[in-house]
Amino acid sequence: MLEFIMSLCATTAQNGQMILENTGISIYIVLLSTLFSYLFGIPTGIILVVTAKDGIHPMPVFNQILGVIVNLLRSVPFLLMIFMIMPITMVITGTSFGPNATIVPLVFSAAPFVARLIESSLREIDFGVIEAAQSMGASNWQIITKVMLPESGPSLLVGAAIAATTILGYSAMAGVLGGGGLGDVAIRYGYYRYEKPLMYICIILLVIITQIVQEAGLRISVKSDKRLH
Protein backbone atom coordinates (compact mmCIF):
# COMPACT_ATOMS: atom_id res chain seq x y z
CA MET A 1 0.00 0.00 0.00
CA LEU A 2 2.71 2.39 1.07
CA GLU A 3 4.64 1.40 -1.99
CA PHE A 4 1.61 2.18 -4.17
CA ILE A 5 1.19 5.64 -2.67
CA MET A 6 4.91 6.28 -3.09
CA SER A 7 4.69 5.35 -6.75
CA LEU A 8 1.72 7.71 -7.21
CA CYS A 9 3.74 10.54 -5.65
CA ALA A 10 6.71 9.83 -7.81
CA THR A 11 4.59 9.75 -10.95
CA THR A 12 2.94 13.01 -9.99
CA ALA A 13 6.32 14.63 -9.50
CA GLN A 14 7.58 13.38 -12.84
CA ASN A 15 4.45 14.29 -14.80
CA GLY A 16 3.30 17.32 -12.83
CA GLN A 17 3.32 19.62 -15.81
CA MET A 18 1.30 17.27 -18.00
CA ILE A 19 -1.23 16.45 -15.28
CA LEU A 20 -1.84 20.11 -14.59
CA GLU A 21 -2.17 20.91 -18.26
CA ASN A 22 -4.69 18.14 -18.86
CA THR A 23 -6.69 19.05 -15.79
CA GLY A 24 -6.98 22.49 -17.33
CA ILE A 25 -8.04 21.00 -20.65
CA SER A 26 -10.70 18.86 -18.91
CA ILE A 27 -12.12 21.89 -17.18
CA TYR A 28 -12.05 23.88 -20.43
CA ILE A 29 -13.88 21.14 -22.32
CA VAL A 30 -16.48 20.66 -19.59
CA LEU A 31 -17.13 24.36 -19.13
CA LEU A 32 -17.59 25.12 -22.81
CA SER A 33 -19.59 21.95 -23.50
CA THR A 34 -21.89 22.64 -20.56
CA LEU A 35 -22.31 26.23 -21.65
CA PHE A 36 -23.25 25.33 -25.23
CA SER A 37 -25.42 22.42 -24.08
CA TYR A 38 -27.40 24.89 -22.00
CA LEU A 39 -27.55 27.35 -24.85
CA PHE A 40 -29.48 24.75 -26.85
CA GLY A 41 -30.95 22.79 -23.95
CA ILE A 42 -32.70 25.67 -22.17
CA PRO A 43 -34.88 26.79 -25.07
CA THR A 44 -35.59 23.18 -26.05
CA GLY A 45 -36.57 22.28 -22.49
CA ILE A 46 -38.78 25.33 -22.19
CA ILE A 47 -40.46 24.59 -25.51
CA LEU A 48 -41.05 20.99 -24.43
CA VAL A 49 -42.90 22.21 -21.32
CA VAL A 50 -44.76 25.13 -22.88
CA THR A 51 -46.09 23.21 -25.90
CA ALA A 52 -47.10 20.11 -23.93
CA LYS A 53 -50.77 19.13 -23.77
CA ASP A 54 -51.08 20.70 -20.33
CA GLY A 55 -48.68 23.55 -21.06
CA ILE A 56 -49.41 27.25 -21.40
CA HIS A 57 -49.30 27.08 -25.20
CA PRO A 58 -50.30 23.55 -26.18
CA MET A 59 -49.03 22.31 -29.54
CA PRO A 60 -49.36 18.56 -29.11
CA VAL A 61 -48.13 17.44 -32.54
CA PHE A 62 -45.09 19.70 -32.55
CA ASN A 63 -44.37 18.69 -28.97
CA GLN A 64 -44.40 15.00 -29.90
CA ILE A 65 -42.07 15.53 -32.84
CA LEU A 66 -39.65 17.55 -30.73
CA GLY A 67 -39.78 14.89 -28.02
CA VAL A 68 -38.89 12.18 -30.53
CA ILE A 69 -35.94 14.18 -31.88
CA VAL A 70 -34.63 14.74 -28.37
CA ASN A 71 -34.97 11.06 -27.56
CA LEU A 72 -33.25 10.05 -30.80
CA LEU A 73 -30.24 12.22 -30.03
CA ARG A 74 -30.14 10.94 -26.50
CA SER A 75 -30.15 7.33 -27.57
CA VAL A 76 -27.08 7.65 -29.81
CA PRO A 77 -24.10 6.28 -27.86
CA PHE A 78 -21.52 9.00 -27.40
CA LEU A 79 -18.75 7.11 -29.13
CA LEU A 80 -20.93 6.76 -32.23
CA MET A 81 -21.96 10.40 -31.99
CA ILE A 82 -18.33 11.40 -32.29
CA PHE A 83 -18.02 9.68 -35.66
CA MET A 84 -21.53 10.39 -36.87
CA ILE A 85 -21.18 14.13 -36.65
CA MET A 86 -17.54 14.29 -37.62
CA PRO A 87 -18.38 16.31 -40.78
CA ILE A 88 -20.29 18.82 -38.71
CA THR A 89 -17.40 19.05 -36.26
CA MET A 90 -15.06 19.73 -39.18
CA VAL A 91 -17.28 22.53 -40.45
CA ILE A 92 -17.61 24.15 -37.05
CA THR A 93 -14.07 23.85 -35.68
CA GLY A 94 -12.10 23.25 -38.84
CA THR A 95 -10.49 20.21 -37.32
CA SER A 96 -11.40 16.71 -36.20
CA PHE A 97 -8.81 16.65 -33.49
CA GLY A 98 -8.13 18.28 -30.15
CA PRO A 99 -10.19 19.80 -27.36
CA ASN A 100 -12.42 21.95 -29.56
CA ALA A 101 -13.28 19.01 -31.78
CA THR A 102 -14.35 17.17 -28.61
CA ILE A 103 -16.73 19.89 -27.57
CA VAL A 104 -18.99 19.58 -30.62
CA PRO A 105 -20.06 15.93 -30.13
CA LEU A 106 -20.26 16.54 -26.39
CA VAL A 107 -22.76 19.32 -27.00
CA PHE A 108 -24.74 17.14 -29.42
CA SER A 109 -24.99 14.41 -26.81
CA ALA A 110 -25.48 16.59 -23.78
CA ALA A 111 -27.91 19.21 -25.11
CA PRO A 112 -30.87 16.80 -25.38
CA PHE A 113 -30.01 15.48 -21.93
CA VAL A 114 -29.94 19.04 -20.62
CA ALA A 115 -33.27 19.74 -22.35
CA ARG A 116 -34.85 16.86 -20.42
CA LEU A 117 -33.28 18.06 -17.17
CA ILE A 118 -34.69 21.55 -17.73
CA GLU A 119 -38.04 20.08 -18.68
CA SER A 120 -38.26 18.08 -15.49
CA SER A 121 -37.23 21.06 -13.35
CA LEU A 122 -39.85 23.29 -14.95
CA ARG A 123 -42.50 20.63 -14.50
CA GLU A 124 -41.99 20.72 -10.74
CA ILE A 125 -43.73 24.09 -10.55
CA ASP A 126 -47.24 23.98 -9.20
CA PHE A 127 -49.62 24.86 -12.02
CA GLY A 128 -51.59 27.01 -9.58
CA VAL A 129 -48.77 29.55 -9.51
CA ILE A 130 -48.78 29.78 -13.31
CA GLU A 131 -52.53 30.13 -13.25
CA ALA A 132 -52.21 32.96 -10.73
CA ALA A 133 -49.83 34.74 -13.10
CA GLN A 134 -52.29 34.24 -15.95
CA SER A 135 -55.05 35.70 -13.81
CA MET A 136 -52.92 38.83 -13.46
CA GLY A 137 -52.67 39.15 -17.20
CA ALA A 138 -49.15 37.80 -17.64
CA SER A 139 -48.15 36.89 -21.19
CA ASN A 140 -46.61 33.49 -21.86
CA TRP A 141 -43.21 35.10 -22.20
CA GLN A 142 -43.62 36.78 -18.81
CA ILE A 143 -44.70 33.48 -17.32
CA ILE A 144 -41.57 31.78 -18.65
CA THR A 145 -39.15 34.49 -17.57
CA LYS A 146 -40.76 35.67 -14.35
CA VAL A 147 -42.41 32.53 -13.01
CA MET A 148 -41.15 29.28 -14.50
CA LEU A 149 -37.42 29.96 -14.60
CA PRO A 150 -36.99 31.84 -11.28
CA GLU A 151 -39.30 29.49 -9.39
CA SER A 152 -37.40 26.42 -10.56
CA GLY A 153 -33.99 28.05 -10.03
CA PRO A 154 -32.75 25.72 -7.28
CA SER A 155 -33.80 22.66 -9.23
CA LEU A 156 -32.10 24.03 -12.37
CA LEU A 157 -28.88 24.44 -10.38
CA VAL A 158 -28.91 20.83 -9.26
CA GLY A 159 -29.55 19.88 -12.87
CA ALA A 160 -26.56 21.95 -13.99
CA ALA A 161 -24.27 20.09 -11.58
CA ILE A 162 -25.58 16.77 -12.86
CA ALA A 163 -25.08 17.91 -16.46
CA ALA A 164 -21.52 19.13 -15.85
CA THR A 165 -20.43 15.93 -14.11
CA THR A 166 -22.05 13.78 -16.79
CA ILE A 167 -20.25 15.79 -19.46
CA LEU A 168 -16.99 15.34 -17.58
CA GLY A 169 -17.56 11.59 -17.70
CA TYR A 170 -18.30 11.69 -21.44
CA SER A 171 -15.26 13.84 -22.09
CA ALA A 172 -13.01 11.00 -20.95
CA MET A 173 -14.26 8.96 -23.88
CA ALA A 174 -13.24 11.72 -26.23
CA GLY A 175 -9.70 10.50 -25.79
CA VAL A 176 -10.18 8.72 -29.10
CA LEU A 177 -10.13 12.16 -30.73
CA GLY A 178 -6.91 12.97 -28.94
CA GLY A 179 -8.98 15.63 -27.31
CA GLY A 180 -6.78 15.81 -24.27
CA GLY A 181 -7.94 16.05 -20.70
CA LEU A 182 -7.62 13.71 -17.75
CA GLY A 183 -9.72 10.94 -19.27
CA ASP A 184 -7.60 11.00 -22.37
CA VAL A 185 -4.39 10.72 -20.36
CA ALA A 186 -5.80 7.90 -18.25
CA ILE A 187 -6.66 5.88 -21.33
CA ARG A 188 -3.51 6.66 -23.30
CA TYR A 189 -1.05 5.95 -20.51
CA GLY A 190 -2.94 3.55 -18.32
CA TYR A 191 -4.61 1.43 -20.95
CA TYR A 192 -2.27 1.55 -23.93
CA ARG A 193 1.09 1.88 -22.12
CA TYR A 194 0.38 0.11 -18.86
CA GLU A 195 1.47 3.14 -16.82
CA LYS A 196 -1.00 2.32 -14.07
CA PRO A 197 0.02 5.00 -11.49
CA LEU A 198 -0.59 7.81 -13.96
CA MET A 199 -3.97 6.32 -14.76
CA TYR A 200 -4.89 6.19 -11.08
CA ILE A 201 -3.87 9.79 -10.58
CA CYS A 202 -6.10 10.90 -13.44
CA ILE A 203 -9.01 8.88 -12.09
CA ILE A 204 -8.55 10.33 -8.61
CA LEU A 205 -8.53 13.84 -10.05
CA LEU A 206 -11.69 13.11 -12.06
CA VAL A 207 -13.40 11.83 -8.92
CA ILE A 208 -12.39 14.92 -6.99
CA ILE A 209 -13.60 17.32 -9.68
CA THR A 210 -16.89 15.43 -9.94
CA GLN A 211 -17.35 15.58 -6.20
CA ILE A 212 -16.59 19.28 -6.02
CA VAL A 213 -18.95 20.21 -8.85
CA GLN A 214 -21.74 18.00 -7.56
CA GLU A 215 -21.40 19.17 -4.00
CA ALA A 216 -21.08 22.83 -4.94
CA GLY A 217 -24.16 22.62 -7.17
CA LEU A 218 -26.18 21.03 -4.42
CA ARG A 219 -25.07 23.52 -1.77
CA ILE A 220 -25.71 26.58 -3.88
CA SER A 221 -29.09 25.16 -4.79
CA VAL A 222 -30.07 24.54 -1.18
CA LYS A 223 -28.79 27.92 -0.15
CA SER A 224 -30.70 29.72 -2.87
CA ASP A 225 -33.94 27.84 -2.25
CA LYS A 226 -36.34 30.02 -0.30
CA ARG A 227 -38.76 27.15 0.22
CA LEU A 228 -36.51 25.56 2.84
CA HIS A 229 -35.94 28.43 5.20
Binding site: A132, Q134, K146, K226
Partner: protein, 341 residues
Amino acid sequence: MNQPIIQIKDLYKSYPSKSGLAVALEHINLDIYPGEIFGIIGMSGAGKSTLVRCINFLEKPTSGTVIFDGQDLSTLSRKELCKARQSMGMIFQQFNLLMQRTALQNICFPMEIAGTKKEQAIARARELLKLVDMENKEDAYPSQLSGGQKQRVAIARALATNPKVLLCDEATSALDPKTTRAILNLLKDISKRLGITVIIITHEMAVIEEICQRVAIIDNHVIAETGTVADVFSRPKEEATKRLVYPEERKLPDFRSAHCYRLIFDGTAAKEPVISNMIMECKTPVNIVAADTRVIEGETFGQMIIQIPDEVNQVNLQRILVYLENKHISVEEVSECLNLS
Protein backbone atom coordinates in the same frame (compact mmCIF):
# COMPACT_ATOMS: atom_id res chain seq x y z
CA MET B 1 -79.20 49.13 -8.76
CA ASN B 2 -76.90 50.46 -11.43
CA GLN B 3 -75.23 48.73 -14.35
CA PRO B 4 -73.80 45.27 -13.51
CA ILE B 5 -70.00 45.05 -13.42
CA ILE B 6 -70.15 41.44 -14.51
CA GLN B 7 -72.84 39.98 -16.69
CA ILE B 8 -72.89 36.31 -17.56
CA LYS B 9 -75.32 35.39 -20.29
CA ASP B 10 -76.35 31.87 -21.13
CA LEU B 11 -72.90 30.46 -20.50
CA TYR B 12 -72.06 26.86 -21.32
CA LYS B 13 -68.82 25.06 -20.68
CA SER B 14 -68.02 21.51 -21.56
CA TYR B 15 -64.80 19.53 -21.65
CA PRO B 16 -63.97 16.84 -24.14
CA SER B 17 -63.96 13.48 -22.42
CA LYS B 18 -63.73 9.82 -23.36
CA SER B 19 -67.49 9.53 -23.63
CA GLY B 20 -68.03 12.62 -25.76
CA LEU B 21 -68.48 15.89 -23.91
CA ALA B 22 -68.52 16.36 -20.15
CA VAL B 23 -70.69 19.31 -19.22
CA ALA B 24 -69.24 21.50 -16.48
CA LEU B 25 -71.63 24.46 -16.69
CA GLU B 26 -75.01 24.86 -18.32
CA HIS B 27 -77.24 27.81 -18.97
CA ILE B 28 -75.57 30.14 -16.48
CA ASN B 29 -77.01 33.64 -16.14
CA LEU B 30 -75.73 36.01 -13.50
CA ASP B 31 -75.58 39.75 -12.94
CA ILE B 32 -73.12 41.00 -10.38
CA TYR B 33 -73.24 44.63 -9.32
CA PRO B 34 -70.43 47.01 -8.41
CA GLY B 35 -69.44 46.97 -4.76
CA GLU B 36 -71.41 43.93 -3.72
CA ILE B 37 -70.05 40.79 -2.13
CA PHE B 38 -71.52 37.99 -4.14
CA GLY B 39 -71.36 34.37 -3.06
CA ILE B 40 -71.42 31.29 -5.26
CA ILE B 41 -71.94 28.14 -3.28
CA GLY B 42 -72.20 24.51 -4.29
CA MET B 43 -70.94 21.05 -3.57
CA SER B 44 -67.58 19.85 -4.80
CA GLY B 45 -67.63 19.22 -8.54
CA ALA B 46 -70.66 21.45 -9.08
CA GLY B 47 -68.69 23.71 -11.41
CA LYS B 48 -67.79 26.63 -9.14
CA SER B 49 -64.13 26.82 -10.10
CA THR B 50 -64.98 26.49 -13.76
CA LEU B 51 -67.47 29.33 -13.43
CA VAL B 52 -65.07 31.69 -11.70
CA ARG B 53 -62.37 30.84 -14.24
CA CYS B 54 -64.80 31.69 -17.02
CA ILE B 55 -65.27 35.13 -15.47
CA ASN B 56 -61.65 36.07 -16.15
CA PHE B 57 -61.42 33.84 -19.20
CA LEU B 58 -58.76 31.57 -17.74
CA GLU B 59 -61.27 29.14 -19.16
CA LYS B 60 -62.93 30.03 -22.44
CA PRO B 61 -66.67 29.36 -22.31
CA THR B 62 -67.93 26.88 -24.88
CA SER B 63 -70.77 29.31 -25.61
CA GLY B 64 -72.40 32.34 -24.02
CA THR B 65 -70.94 35.67 -23.09
CA VAL B 66 -69.17 37.25 -20.16
CA ILE B 67 -69.39 41.01 -20.07
CA PHE B 68 -66.96 42.67 -17.71
CA ASP B 69 -67.20 46.40 -17.16
CA GLY B 70 -68.98 46.87 -20.45
CA GLN B 71 -66.67 44.76 -22.63
CA ASP B 72 -67.53 41.35 -24.03
CA LEU B 73 -64.46 39.31 -23.11
CA SER B 74 -64.80 36.97 -26.09
CA THR B 75 -64.26 39.85 -28.50
CA LEU B 76 -60.95 40.90 -26.93
CA SER B 77 -57.55 40.17 -28.43
CA ARG B 78 -55.05 38.30 -26.30
CA LYS B 79 -53.39 41.53 -25.34
CA GLU B 80 -56.63 43.28 -24.47
CA LEU B 81 -57.65 40.27 -22.42
CA CYS B 82 -54.42 40.46 -20.41
CA LYS B 83 -55.18 44.13 -19.82
CA ALA B 84 -58.73 43.33 -18.70
CA ARG B 85 -57.44 40.68 -16.31
CA GLN B 86 -55.41 43.33 -14.54
CA SER B 87 -58.75 44.77 -13.46
CA MET B 88 -59.74 41.44 -11.92
CA GLY B 89 -57.73 40.19 -8.97
CA MET B 90 -57.95 36.53 -8.03
CA ILE B 91 -57.08 34.57 -4.90
CA PHE B 92 -56.96 30.82 -4.47
CA GLN B 93 -57.34 28.07 -1.92
CA GLN B 94 -53.64 27.19 -2.18
CA PHE B 95 -52.54 30.87 -2.17
CA ASN B 96 -50.30 30.30 -5.21
CA LEU B 97 -47.60 32.69 -4.11
CA LEU B 98 -44.20 32.68 -5.80
CA MET B 99 -42.12 30.66 -3.38
CA GLN B 100 -38.79 32.23 -4.35
CA ARG B 101 -39.98 35.78 -3.77
CA THR B 102 -40.55 37.69 -0.55
CA ALA B 103 -43.96 38.98 0.44
CA LEU B 104 -43.07 42.41 -0.94
CA GLN B 105 -41.73 40.98 -4.20
CA ASN B 106 -44.85 38.86 -4.57
CA ILE B 107 -47.01 41.95 -4.33
CA CYS B 108 -44.80 43.73 -6.85
CA PHE B 109 -45.22 40.87 -9.30
CA PRO B 110 -48.54 41.89 -10.92
CA MET B 111 -47.21 45.44 -11.19
CA GLU B 112 -44.08 44.18 -12.97
CA ILE B 113 -46.39 42.44 -15.38
CA ALA B 114 -48.40 45.60 -15.87
CA GLY B 115 -45.20 47.56 -16.44
CA THR B 116 -45.35 49.77 -13.34
CA LYS B 117 -42.11 51.58 -12.43
CA LYS B 118 -40.14 49.78 -9.80
CA GLU B 119 -40.05 52.44 -7.05
CA GLN B 120 -43.71 53.11 -7.58
CA ALA B 121 -44.48 49.40 -7.32
CA ILE B 122 -42.54 49.02 -4.10
CA ALA B 123 -44.28 52.00 -2.54
CA ARG B 124 -47.66 50.61 -3.50
CA ALA B 125 -46.70 47.15 -2.24
CA ARG B 126 -45.80 48.61 1.15
CA GLU B 127 -49.12 50.39 1.28
CA LEU B 128 -50.90 47.13 0.54
CA LEU B 129 -48.94 45.21 3.14
CA LYS B 130 -50.21 47.72 5.64
CA LEU B 131 -53.75 47.33 4.39
CA VAL B 132 -53.63 43.58 5.01
CA ASP B 133 -51.87 44.06 8.34
CA MET B 134 -48.59 42.49 7.28
CA GLU B 135 -46.24 45.46 7.20
CA ASN B 136 -43.67 43.75 9.41
CA LYS B 137 -43.41 40.77 7.06
CA GLU B 138 -42.29 42.39 3.84
CA ASP B 139 -39.05 40.40 3.64
CA ALA B 140 -40.56 37.07 4.67
CA TYR B 141 -40.74 34.27 2.12
CA PRO B 142 -44.02 32.38 1.79
CA SER B 143 -42.46 29.33 3.45
CA GLN B 144 -42.02 31.45 6.58
CA LEU B 145 -45.68 32.48 6.72
CA SER B 146 -48.76 30.77 8.11
CA GLY B 147 -51.73 29.97 5.90
CA GLY B 148 -53.61 33.06 6.98
CA GLN B 149 -50.57 35.27 6.41
CA LYS B 150 -50.02 33.78 2.97
CA GLN B 151 -53.61 34.54 2.05
CA ARG B 152 -53.15 38.11 3.26
CA VAL B 153 -50.15 38.51 0.98
CA ALA B 154 -52.16 36.93 -1.86
CA ILE B 155 -54.96 39.42 -1.24
CA ALA B 156 -52.51 42.32 -1.28
CA ARG B 157 -51.04 40.95 -4.50
CA ALA B 158 -54.48 40.63 -6.08
CA LEU B 159 -55.24 44.25 -5.19
CA ALA B 160 -51.95 45.61 -6.51
CA THR B 161 -53.23 46.67 -9.91
CA ASN B 162 -56.33 48.39 -8.48
CA PRO B 163 -58.80 45.82 -9.75
CA LYS B 164 -62.53 46.43 -9.84
CA VAL B 165 -63.33 42.83 -8.97
CA LEU B 166 -61.76 40.33 -6.62
CA LEU B 167 -62.41 36.66 -7.42
CA CYS B 168 -61.96 34.30 -4.48
CA ASP B 169 -61.96 30.59 -5.27
CA GLU B 170 -62.27 28.71 -1.98
CA ALA B 171 -59.97 31.32 -0.48
CA THR B 172 -60.61 30.19 3.10
CA SER B 173 -61.02 26.47 2.56
CA ALA B 174 -57.45 25.69 3.63
CA LEU B 175 -57.69 27.79 6.78
CA ASP B 176 -58.90 27.09 10.30
CA PRO B 177 -62.19 28.66 11.46
CA LYS B 178 -60.59 31.53 13.33
CA THR B 179 -58.29 32.49 10.46
CA THR B 180 -61.18 32.06 8.07
CA ARG B 181 -63.17 34.62 9.99
CA ALA B 182 -60.24 37.05 10.05
CA ILE B 183 -59.71 36.74 6.30
CA LEU B 184 -63.43 37.16 5.61
CA ASN B 185 -63.50 40.27 7.75
CA LEU B 186 -60.53 41.59 5.84
CA LEU B 187 -62.30 40.98 2.53
CA LYS B 188 -65.40 42.69 3.82
CA ASP B 189 -63.37 45.64 5.02
CA ILE B 190 -61.53 45.91 1.72
CA SER B 191 -64.73 45.73 -0.25
CA LYS B 192 -66.21 48.52 1.81
CA ARG B 193 -63.12 50.70 1.87
CA LEU B 194 -62.08 50.34 -1.75
CA GLY B 195 -65.52 49.79 -3.22
CA ILE B 196 -64.35 46.56 -4.84
CA THR B 197 -66.77 43.91 -6.01
CA VAL B 198 -65.95 40.59 -4.37
CA ILE B 199 -67.02 37.21 -5.67
CA ILE B 200 -66.73 34.44 -3.12
CA ILE B 201 -66.69 30.84 -4.24
CA THR B 202 -67.15 28.34 -1.45
CA HIS B 203 -68.74 25.10 -0.40
CA GLU B 204 -69.34 26.39 3.13
CA MET B 205 -72.58 28.11 4.08
CA ALA B 206 -70.93 29.82 7.02
CA VAL B 207 -68.64 31.74 4.67
CA ILE B 208 -71.58 33.06 2.68
CA GLU B 209 -73.52 33.96 5.80
CA GLU B 210 -70.55 35.78 7.20
CA ILE B 211 -69.98 38.30 4.41
CA CYS B 212 -72.14 37.93 1.32
CA GLN B 213 -75.10 40.06 0.43
CA ARG B 214 -76.35 37.94 -2.44
CA VAL B 215 -75.76 34.33 -3.27
CA ALA B 216 -76.14 31.94 -6.18
CA ILE B 217 -76.55 28.25 -5.50
CA ILE B 218 -74.85 26.15 -8.13
CA ASP B 219 -75.83 22.53 -8.26
CA ASN B 220 -74.98 19.92 -10.80
CA HIS B 221 -73.62 22.50 -13.29
CA VAL B 222 -76.63 24.82 -13.22
CA ILE B 223 -77.64 27.73 -11.03
CA ALA B 224 -80.47 26.50 -8.88
CA GLU B 225 -81.33 29.70 -7.10
CA THR B 226 -80.15 33.30 -6.79
CA GLY B 227 -81.17 35.92 -4.26
CA THR B 228 -80.23 37.74 -1.12
CA VAL B 229 -78.55 35.57 1.45
CA ALA B 230 -81.35 36.15 3.95
CA ASP B 231 -84.03 35.12 1.46
CA VAL B 232 -82.30 32.12 0.01
CA PHE B 233 -81.13 30.63 3.28
CA SER B 234 -84.23 31.29 5.34
CA ARG B 235 -86.71 30.18 2.71
CA PRO B 236 -84.87 27.74 0.48
CA LYS B 237 -87.06 26.97 -2.50
CA GLU B 238 -85.01 24.51 -4.48
CA GLU B 239 -84.03 20.97 -3.53
CA ALA B 240 -80.35 21.86 -3.98
CA THR B 241 -80.60 24.81 -1.63
CA LYS B 242 -82.35 22.73 0.97
CA ARG B 243 -79.60 20.16 0.77
CA LEU B 244 -77.07 22.88 1.52
CA VAL B 245 -79.07 24.60 4.21
CA TYR B 246 -80.02 21.39 5.96
CA PRO B 247 -77.01 19.20 5.39
CA GLU B 248 -77.43 15.44 5.78
CA GLU B 249 -81.16 15.74 6.41
CA ARG B 250 -81.39 15.33 10.15
CA LYS B 251 -82.12 11.68 10.63
CA LEU B 252 -84.14 10.79 13.70
CA PRO B 253 -82.12 8.49 15.89
CA ASP B 254 -83.20 4.90 15.74
CA PHE B 255 -84.42 3.92 19.17
CA ARG B 256 -85.73 0.52 18.22
CA SER B 257 -82.74 -1.39 19.41
CA ALA B 258 -81.67 1.20 21.95
CA HIS B 259 -79.91 0.51 25.19
CA CYS B 260 -81.91 1.40 28.25
CA TYR B 261 -80.54 2.71 31.50
CA ARG B 262 -82.22 3.23 34.81
CA LEU B 263 -81.23 6.42 36.60
CA ILE B 264 -81.80 6.60 40.29
CA PHE B 265 -82.21 9.96 42.00
CA ASP B 266 -81.64 9.71 45.73
CA GLY B 267 -81.87 13.34 46.65
CA THR B 268 -78.16 14.04 46.31
CA ALA B 269 -78.28 14.96 42.61
CA ALA B 270 -77.17 18.42 41.65
CA LYS B 271 -79.92 21.00 41.53
CA GLU B 272 -80.03 21.58 37.82
CA PRO B 273 -81.86 20.27 34.80
CA VAL B 274 -79.55 17.27 34.67
CA ILE B 275 -80.97 15.50 31.65
CA SER B 276 -81.12 18.49 29.34
CA ASN B 277 -77.66 19.59 30.43
CA MET B 278 -76.39 16.12 29.78
CA ILE B 279 -77.86 16.12 26.27
CA MET B 280 -76.22 19.43 25.50
CA GLU B 281 -72.91 18.52 27.07
CA CYS B 282 -72.59 15.09 25.51
CA LYS B 283 -74.26 16.10 22.24
CA THR B 284 -76.20 12.87 22.25
CA PRO B 285 -79.97 12.60 22.08
CA VAL B 286 -81.66 10.41 24.63
CA ASN B 287 -85.21 9.31 24.89
CA ILE B 288 -86.97 9.41 28.23
CA VAL B 289 -89.04 6.26 28.28
CA ALA B 290 -90.50 6.57 31.69
CA ALA B 291 -90.00 8.69 34.76
CA ASP B 292 -91.25 8.52 38.26
CA THR B 293 -89.60 11.29 40.14
CA ARG B 294 -90.80 13.85 42.56
CA VAL B 295 -89.22 16.86 44.12
CA ILE B 296 -89.28 16.96 47.88
CA GLU B 297 -88.01 20.08 49.52
CA GLY B 298 -85.90 20.89 46.52
CA GLU B 299 -84.32 17.44 46.22
CA THR B 300 -85.18 15.01 43.47
CA PHE B 301 -86.09 11.44 44.35
CA GLY B 302 -87.17 8.57 42.19
CA GLN B 303 -86.08 6.92 38.99
CA MET B 304 -86.13 7.37 35.30
CA ILE B 305 -85.47 5.14 32.34
CA ILE B 306 -83.71 6.56 29.35
CA GLN B 307 -82.89 5.09 25.97
CA ILE B 308 -79.65 5.83 24.19
CA PRO B 309 -79.82 5.20 20.46
CA ASP B 310 -77.81 2.33 19.12
CA GLU B 311 -75.60 4.36 16.79
CA VAL B 312 -74.10 6.31 19.69
CA ASN B 313 -70.53 5.18 19.91
CA GLN B 314 -68.79 3.85 22.96
CA VAL B 315 -66.98 7.11 23.67
CA ASN B 316 -70.16 9.15 23.83
CA LEU B 317 -71.88 6.48 25.84
CA GLN B 318 -69.03 6.55 28.29
CA ARG B 319 -69.27 10.32 28.49
CA ILE B 320 -72.93 10.09 29.40
CA LEU B 321 -72.27 7.55 32.13
CA VAL B 322 -69.42 9.59 33.59
CA TYR B 323 -71.50 12.74 33.41
CA LEU B 324 -74.31 11.16 35.39
CA GLU B 325 -71.94 9.71 37.92
CA ASN B 326 -70.48 13.17 38.52
CA LYS B 327 -73.95 14.44 39.18
CA HIS B 328 -74.45 11.75 41.83
CA ILE B 329 -76.98 9.78 39.89
CA SER B 330 -76.54 6.06 39.94
CA VAL B 331 -77.02 4.28 36.66
CA GLU B 332 -77.69 0.70 35.76
CA GLU B 333 -78.33 -0.89 32.41
CA VAL B 334 -81.68 -2.56 32.08
CA SER B 335 -82.73 -5.02 29.45
CA GLU B 336 -86.44 -4.45 29.44
CA CYS B 337 -87.21 -0.87 28.71
CA LEU B 338 -90.68 -0.63 30.05
CA ASN B 339 -89.97 -2.07 33.42
CA LEU B 340 -90.12 0.73 35.90
CA SER B 341 -90.68 -1.27 39.00
